[in-house]
């Protein structure tokens, strides 16, 4: 990927300009260090469905356990103001990852050129502007909730995009309009109960529009990506199905072809808004994931949230949902009795990206100081049968409907 190719260059650039000598020489207006951190604890009451923050994670939290790894992280950032038009930003976020590496820990590494007040261009690694919070969902201090709603954000595994974006800003109609076009590629891991798959995307093309009127803001975003590699699970199952003779599975090769993902297009769309009125803050987002691939169904998700501030305390409630079709094997003419295991594997694969659940959350955020906050949140999740994509199943075949209580506590800070 992009960063792999340019890693030596970026490392040299970062370490060269992060040396204290140069920082002092440049003055404190040239170079700044900052960071963010979260200490997060999670308990959940399911014996079968393990809680996880996103589909990246290969570990989960079951009944009787207390977890500190899902939400805890440390982010460090260096901003180098090269000139009035150029700046360079590097950010690394240390967190629990299924396949840790310098590349995965690096979330931002870009050079920005501000052509004028209205136009700017960034080249390098940037945060994905797919849904409202995807750019800053790991900066827990920046929003009220203990975590961004899993129903919308749990399914998005990407933490960065290597490429280029162009942003246009303009004041008008009493507010500020912002439009951004971006393109690039990315790679990440997606985990299930017994496997972790590398997923690469390329030819990412996206647009992000917003109008900000200080106490209210609306956003519309759309992006599409091409899947650049074939997940091993898909390739393995397709290979097996394609070898089944026609008398057991007519046209098995055509079906095998339909479960391959490489080259398929996936699109992400979202509309969202936020309104602040005195001590009240209301926000809502509707999102959709759609695909040419039979393996990734159309996923409709959303949330609505309301919070009320009393001095340094904010009480909030969130309702979030995600809905997608559940695949139930019904291919014509297949000898199901003879192919029981293959059909089970097909059902599992076809429902891998099919979350179906809703969650009611109640929480309390306390701004302990100007840079430190705690959030305590209770989630009550109603999980539909076969819709546990966002969780990890302890029992391989256990994917029944269940209601789950999850308690999250985060202590977040910026510095």
């Amino acid at each position: 990927m992009f960063l792999e190719s340019y890693k030596p260059f970026l490392c040299c650039l970062f370490f060269a300009f992060s040396s204290p000598a140069l920082a002092n020489e440049g003055g404190n207006d040239k170079f700044q260090f900052s960071g963010f951190a979260t200490l997060g604890a999670v308990v959940s009451d399911s014996d079968h469905h393990g809680y996880r923050k996103t589909v990246n994670s290969d570990e989960a939290v079951y009944s009787g356990e207390i977890d500190f790894k899902q939400h805890s992280l440390l982010g460090l950032q260096a901003d180098w103001n090269i000139s009035s038009n150029f700046d360079f930003v590097y950010q690394g976020v240390l967190r629990d990852l299924p396949e840790p590496s310098f590349d995965r820990y690096t979330t931002l590494a870009f050079l920005r050129y501000e052509m004028n007040t209205n136009w700017s261009i960034r080249v390098g690694r940037t945060a994905p502007d797919i849904f409202l919070l995807t750019e800053y969902r790991d900066v827990d201090f920046s929003y009220i909730w203990a975590t961004a709603p899993n129903e919308v954000y749990g399914i998005v595994p990407y933490r960065s995009i290597d490429g280029i974006d162009v942003t246009y800003n303009k004041r008008g109609f009493g507010g500020v309009f912002t439009g951004k076009l971006f393109t690039g590629s990315s790679e990440t891991e997606i985990s299930a109960s017994s496997t972790t798959e590398k997923v690469k995307i390329e030819d990412v093309i996206g647009i992000s529009l917003s109008f900000d009127h200080f106490n209210w803001v609306v956003h519309a975003k759309h992006s599409q990506v091409n899947i650049a590699n074939e997940p091993e699970s898909n390739a393995f199952l397709a290979s097996g199905i394609s070898q089944i003779p026609d008398f057991l599975w007519p046209n098995s090769q055509a079906f095998a072809q339909s479960i391959l993902m490489k080259g398929q297009e996936v699109s992400y769309s979202s509309v969202s808004g936020q309104y602040q009125w005195q001590n009240w803050l209301a926000s809502a987002e509707l999102s959709q994931v759609d695909s040419e691939s039979d393996v990734v169904p159309k996923i409709n998700s959303g949330y609505a949230a309301l919070s009320y501030q009393i001095n340094s305390h904010q009480m909030y409630g969130i309702y979030a949902y995600t809905d997608s079709r559940i695949y139930d094997f019904n291919e014509p003419g297949v000898n199901e009795a003879a192919l029981e295991e293959v059909i089970h594997a097909t059902n599992s694969l076809m429902n891998f990206y099919a979350p179906n659940q809703d969650t009611i959350s109640l929480g309390w955020r306390w701004d302990i100081s100007n840079n430190i906050a705690s959030s305590l949140q209770w989630n009550y999740t109603t999980l539909s049968e076969g819709g546990s994509t966002l969780w990890i199943n302890k029992g391989e075949s256990h994917d029944e409907a269940e209601s789950i209580n999850t308690f999250l506590f985060t202590l977040s800070m910026v510095f």
């Binding site: 404190n28 207006d29 700044q32 900052s34 963010f36 982010g75 950032q77 901003d79 103001n81 009035s84 700046d87 930003v89 950010q91 931002l108 870009f110 920005r112 501000e114 004028n116 007040t117 209205n118 960034r122 940037t126 945060a127 750019e135 800053y136 900066v139 201090f141 920046s142 929003y143 800003n169 303009k170 004041r171 009493g174 500020v176 900000d212 200080f214 340094s312 701004d367 100081s369 100007n370 840079n371 906050a373 910026v414």
Partner: protein, 144 residues
């Protein structure tokens, strides 16, 4: 008497968070050579909240801030956007840690902040009204 004691307690509790600097009007100042003569509150909100970092003539601005949790900074944001510094920091953490916006120039104290504005034509900052000198141009007064 009980009511008097209660009010006195409240007043005493509030005293430490209302410093002399905090009640003094704050002036938003720019370089003397800057062609902009005045700015509206809405333009200042856009500028200091990172929404549109420019002067009314669309020339790029360089906001300058005091480091840390200075009383002046707390007072400025409370008056400008009606938010405590914790919420301003939460808001800015979105802009900063997504790399959407360049961070403000930070200075250690008022004297250095004023020196920076005098030396940079694009700079804009805020200082207590008593610190205004002939080398600075006032474009807005808060809390007057």
């Amino acid at each position: 008497m009980k009511r008097f004691n209660f009010i006195l307690t409240i007043v005493l509790l509030l005293l430490p968070i209302t410093s002399v600097q905090a009640v003094e009007p704050l002036a938003v100042v720019v370089n003397k050579a800057n062609p902009v003569d005045k700015m509206t509150r809405s333009e200042l909100i856009d500028l200091f909240m990172g929404k549109y970092v420019a002067f009314p003539d669309d020339n790029k601005a360089l906001p300058v801030e005091l480091k840390g949790e200075h009383d002046i900074k707390v007072h400025f944001y409370q008056k400008l956007v009606g938010m405590p510094l914790s919420r301003v920091n939460a808001y800015w953490s979105r802009l900063r840690f997504t790399g959407r916006k360049r961070v403000a120039i930070l200075q250690a104290n008022e004297a250095e902040l004023i020196d920076y504005i005098i030396a940079n034509e694009q700079a804009i900052g805020y200082v207590p009204k008593s610190l205004i000198t002939e080398d600075l141009k006032v474009v807005y007064i808060l809390n007057e």
